[in-house]
């Protein structure tokens, strides 16, 4: 109900006076002080004055001239309120307290304690570093890795939890809301959003800097070494969680506190104004990683990134739930899918790389090839990540599933592996191509025995690694494990044949006896030849194979025992039957150089991996 004209006129004039007094373009004093920093009474008076002017705007009974005065007053008031609004916001714009910067769901990682004021350092846990160390750098598949026991894998899958904090104290929020209300109802919505957005956005930017979120271009990222990128990815994962779950969520809450109910979706508009840029900046990093060139060592960090982003998607959907923020949800989903694709692509890359790994220099002593170690460590880690990879890897390996007749790839019948997950099939395939590659390498040894020993060592290593990891074993399956075991046993047999058949041939009976005659019936010359051959061969074998290596002590023992079981009895029996013939002749020491004990001792040198120059234990005479 409108007050009677005279009172209305008076009320308006009073209000107008107050507005004009605070016209910042008009007086020094008005410029120097801020209403909302001063006396609360003054604040109330001012706001009432604004309300009064607004009432006058809708009054019908005023002349054009008066309309002009009213409009003018409104504009002055709005300009003033805009400055007050900005001022309140700025006074309460401290970058988010660093205590609040811990990951809300940091139950998984050992809590990264952050000292106030310090930027989030890259305090990678020891576990993470060990994990990374077991994957070789770059594309060099030949890096010699030590056997790292499967480190405790820290999952990036955690339960989501949004944790909003109050960015601005509630009395300030109250003031902001009072101002916003009046600005919006006077039609100055746009100005309000602009001021709000620009101040809050710089607050978010400052928080970003504290979180260590860098602005890197795609070009920058392509140029960085992968190790540096791993560090940045780790940091990004931590920062992204805080950004989405705390920082952005809190900004959203603030918008709601100030603008909810003051108009349609104004809080959404202000929120997007504030965070759209920073959100894009945040995601651009993950996007750049997802499109970087694929190479095997990137797999696990990419999976980490994938998992953490997947974890965040529900929170992203909640925080960015309005229509205007659709593009952000879309971008996050796109990045996730690219990361998945990248992971699949890298797995493929890896398989190719294993198949084609071209080094030809034979590993001295026939021991474990660095490729074997690398691959087995790699797939061990893959089995750690099987939860994610089982979801991502849905198709069988693309090569080798048909009997292509291509000599450069092994054949494999996948039908035997029905019922296994695609990931498991991939792992088996990887082992198949590893062996295939190793077989190629084994041919570079000039000595066939060494080729077999090499294969035995390496396949045995594969078996040990599979047995040593329950996840891996479960995926590979005992059937295939049995096959592998058979393989290395067969290699052992092949080795023995290759080396010892001819040695033992020297100790055979046939050809030594001469028929007829009163003499013992043994050809002395043939016998001497036999002894000489045996000695030469054995000495050669001893000298050579002492430099060969079987790293696994049990396997080493077994093989030595197996050799001894054939060699010692044969020699003992030979010696027993024929030594008298030699000893009855001249220079028996030229022919009988080894006692049974000598042989037994010398066998202990086998596969010790002695350096070739080392003086071997002299056999006693």
């Amino acid at each position: 109900m409108e007050p009677p004209p005279e009172n209305a006129g008076l009320a308006f004039q009073t209000a107008e006076k107050i507005i004009l007094r605070w016209d910042s373009t008009a007086s020094e004093e008005a410029r120097e002080k801020m209403i909302f920093e001063g006396d609360r009474g003054e604040v109330d008076r001012y706001l009432h004055a604004v309300d009064e002017i607004q009432r006058s705007m809708s009054s019908t009974s005023i002349s054009d001239n008066e309309q002009d005065k009213v409009n003018s007053a409104i504009q002055i008031a709005m300009a003033r309120l805009e400055d007050e609004f900005r001022n309140i916001l700025i006074s309460h714009t401290n970058p988010i307290e660093t205590d609040s910067l811990t990951d809300p769901s940091s139950s998984v990682h050992s809590a990264c304690s952050i000292t106030a004021g310090a930027e989030l350092d890259d305090d990678a846990t020891a576990e993470e570093e060990e994990e990374d160390a077991s994957i070789s750098k770059g594309n060099e598949l030949l890096r010699y890795n030590s056997d790292s026991s499967s480190s405790a894998y820290t999952s990036y899958r955690s339960t989501s939890s949004i944790r909003e904090i109050d960015l601005i104290p509630s009395d300030a929020v109250y003031d902001l809301r009072s101002i916003a209300d009046r600005m919006i109802s006077s039609g100055y919505l746009r100005e309000c959003i602009q001021v709000y957005g620009s101040v809050r956005k710089s607050a978010v930017d400052a928080s970003f800097r504290r979180l260590g979120i860098e602005k890197l271009s795609i070009g920058d990222i392509q140029r960085l070494e992968w190790e540096q990128l791993e560090t940045k990815i780790r940091r990004w994962i931590r920062a992204a969680k805080v950004c989405i779950r705390t920082l952005f969520a809190s900004e959203k809450k603030l918008c709601e506190q100030i603008f909810d109910g003051l108009g349609t979706s104004i809080d959404d508009a202000c929120f997007m104004e504030t965070v759209k840029g920073p959100a894009i900046q945040l995601f651009n990093f993950a996007e750049a990683i997802s499109i970087s060139r694929r190479s095997p060592e990137k797999l696990f960090k990419i999976l980490d990134l994938h998992d953490s982003l997947m974890d965040l998607i529900p929170d992203i959907d909640i925080v960015f739930d309005s229509k205007s923020s659709e593009s952000i949800r879309i971008q996050a989903a796109e990045i996730l899918s690219r990361l998945a694709e990248a992971a699949r692509g890298i797995l493929s890359e890896f398989e190719n790389a294993v198949l084609r790994e071209p080094s030809r220099v034979p590993v001295p002593g026939g021991t474990i090839h660095p490729l074997t170690r690398y691959v087995m460590n790699y797939i061990s880690l893959i089995s750690d990540y099987k939860q994610t990879l089982n979801e991502l890897v849905v198709s069988k390996p693309s090569t080798g599933s048909r009997y292509s007749g291509d000599p450069s790839t092994p054949d494999m019948d996948f039908t035997e592996l029905e019922g296994k997950s695609p990931l498991a099939i991939h792992l088996i395939w990887i082992i198949v191509i590893l062996q295939f590659n190793l077989e190629g390498k084994s041919k570079h040894y000039r000595d066939a025995s060494l080729s077999h020993l090499f294969m035995m060592n390496n396949v045995h290593y594969i078996v040990q690694k599979v047995k040593g990891s329950p996840e891996l074993r479960e995926m590979i399956g005992d059937d295939y494990l049995k096959k592998l075991t058979g393989k290395f046993r067969q290699a052992a047999t092949s080795y023995q044949r290759a080396t010892w058949v001819r040695v033992l041939y020297c100790l055979r009976d046939e050809g030594l006896h001469v028929s007829g005659g009163f003499s013992s019936g043994v050809s002395k010359s043939a016998l001497r030849e036999r002894f000489k051959s045996f000695n030469a061969m054995f000495e050669e074998v001893h000298r050579t194979q002492a430099t060969w290596l079987i790293p696994d002590s049990q396997l080493r023992e077994e093989l030595r025992i197996s050799i001894s079981e054939k060699l010692i009895p044969a020699y003992r029996s030979f010696l027993g039957r024929f030594r008298s013939h030699i000893e009855s002749g001249r220079h028996p020491e030229n022919y009988i150089k080894y006692s049974v004990e000598d042989l037994e001792n010398d066998v202990l040198d086998f596969f010790e991996g002695y350096p070739p120059s080392q003086h071997l234990r002299r056999r006693s005479q």
């Binding site: 002009d68 003018s72 300009a79 400055d83 700025i90 746009r190 795609i218 840029g277 499109i291 060139r293």
Partner: protein, 396 residues
């Protein structure tokens, strides 16, 4: 928008799926030459369209460097890119990529592609800053559409338009210049800010949103780097696959350069205007024509010191200045004649805002689409290179 204006025999044979063996007769050399010629022709035709679009009464052509025109440019780019991929990857023996001259040219192209991706990101940010300008203009429109136009409206419009003009200037300087922030306040003219607290408050406020790329990243430098090594193939090479690679590289450079000239993005100072494409190349004529026109505008802009070449922004600036003058000399009430003038200008302003409101978000989406498409193509090229068994260059 899908690419729909293929002509000739291409569409029937395009299948860009990898690992798919085409059950067609192997490409004879003749066929290859025909493909290359068709590609050239299409490129030439498309750029002709852009340079002097066929206009009829029902649909007047879009002005050069307007939002609608830029969207056409992007569409055309996508068409060319798709055709290029078909020419180079489809039905080809991957090992061709690892032989000269492709072994050098393809990795170079991929390097340019990475730069283009960053430019796309910068452009998206740039479109955001255009939206900011749009919102300021909308304030002025809202103010000046009121009747009667009073002191209040005039001041309000002036404030918004001053911020607008400042924002447009800001794009061409190095980001957060503290001086300009004082515009954002109603008080605190330059130098008269009394308290230091106020000074602190002004600093760093009115930062241009387009300056959110990495520090030291410069659109101008990226374009410059992209155009290095852009050398047309000579002699025997010109009739082989080196030719489409060169054409596509040129298109990349041209399109990115045009977009950077039009849309504000980080650090355009020093944007070159020389286009390293020889004039004799027939297919390049329309492109060169366009480039010259735009370059001329750019040079004019550098002299005047006014903001980017986006047609709507240019118009906005003009009308904005004029309305600022109006607001400066404002006296209530406004005489009828002047009012009519202002009314027309405000309608012009409103029209631009409308075009921006309709066109800017789709423009951004298109830029993102270009981004995605280019990422995908790059991945396919990298795959082919890897397939060929060798990594030809240490590019990432």
């Amino acid at each position: 928008m899908p690419a729909t204006d293929y002509q000739g025999s291409f569409l029937g044979r395009i299948s860009i799926r990898r690992n798919q063996v085409m059950a067609m007769e192997p490409n004879s050399h003749e066929q290859e030459v025909e493909d290359l010629e068709l590609f050239q022709k299409h490129v030439s035709d498309r750029f002709s369209d852009l340079l002097s679009p066929p206009s009829d009464d029902s649909s007047p052509s879009d002005p050069l460097l307007s939002i609608a025109w830029l969207r056409k440019l992007l569409d055309m780019f996508l068409c060319c890119e798709a055709e290029f991929k078909a020419v180079l990857i489809m039905d080809r023996d991957p090992s061709q990529m690892t032989r000269p001259p492709l072994d050098r040219l393809v990795p170079e192209l991929l390097e340019r592609v990475v730069k283009a991706l960053d430019i796309c990101n910068a452009l998206c940010l740039g479109v955001d800053s255009v939206r900011n300008v749009q919102k300021l203009a909308e304030i002025a429109v809202a103010a000046l559409e009121q009747r009667p136009i009073g002191d209040g409206q005039a001041r309000r419009a002036k404030k918004a338009l001053n911020s607008l003009i400042t924002a447009m200037m800001l794009e061409d300087k190095d980001g957060a210049s503290a001086k300009s922030t004082e515009r954002a306040w109603s008080f605190g003219r330059r130098g008269t800010s009394s308290t230091s607290a106020q000074k602190d408050r002004t600093a760093g406020l009115f930062r241009s949103p387009s300056c959110n790329m990495a520090k030291n990243w410069s659109a101008a430098k990226q374009i410059h780097a992209m155009s290095s090594n852009l050398v047309p193939p000579r002699g025997a090479e010109a009739s082989g696959l080196a030719s489409p690679v060169y054409i596509m590289s040129t298109i990349f450079v041209f399109v990115m350069w045009t977009l950077v000239a039009a849309i504000p993005c980080q650090e355009r100072n020093g944007l070159g205007t020389h286009f390293p494409v020889p004039r004799q190349l027939a297919w390049a004529q329309p492109m060169i024509g366009l480039q010259e026109k735009i370059a001329e505008e750019w040079k004019k802009k550098e002299k005047k010191g006014s903001a980017g070449l986006l047609e709507e922004m240019q118009r906005l600036e003009k009308i904005g200045q004029s309305l600022i003058d109006f607001a400066d000399g404002f006296q209530f009430p406004v005489e009828a004649e002047r009012l009519e003038e202002v009314k027309t200008q405000v309608e012009g302003l409103a029209d631009i805002c409308r075009k921006m409101e309709e066109g800017l978000v789709p423009l951004q989406q298109q830029i993102r689409e270009v981004f995605h498409r280019v990422v995908r193509s790059r991945a396919e090229f990298l795959d082919v290179l890897d397939q060929a068994g060798r990594l030809t260059a240490p590019t990432v």
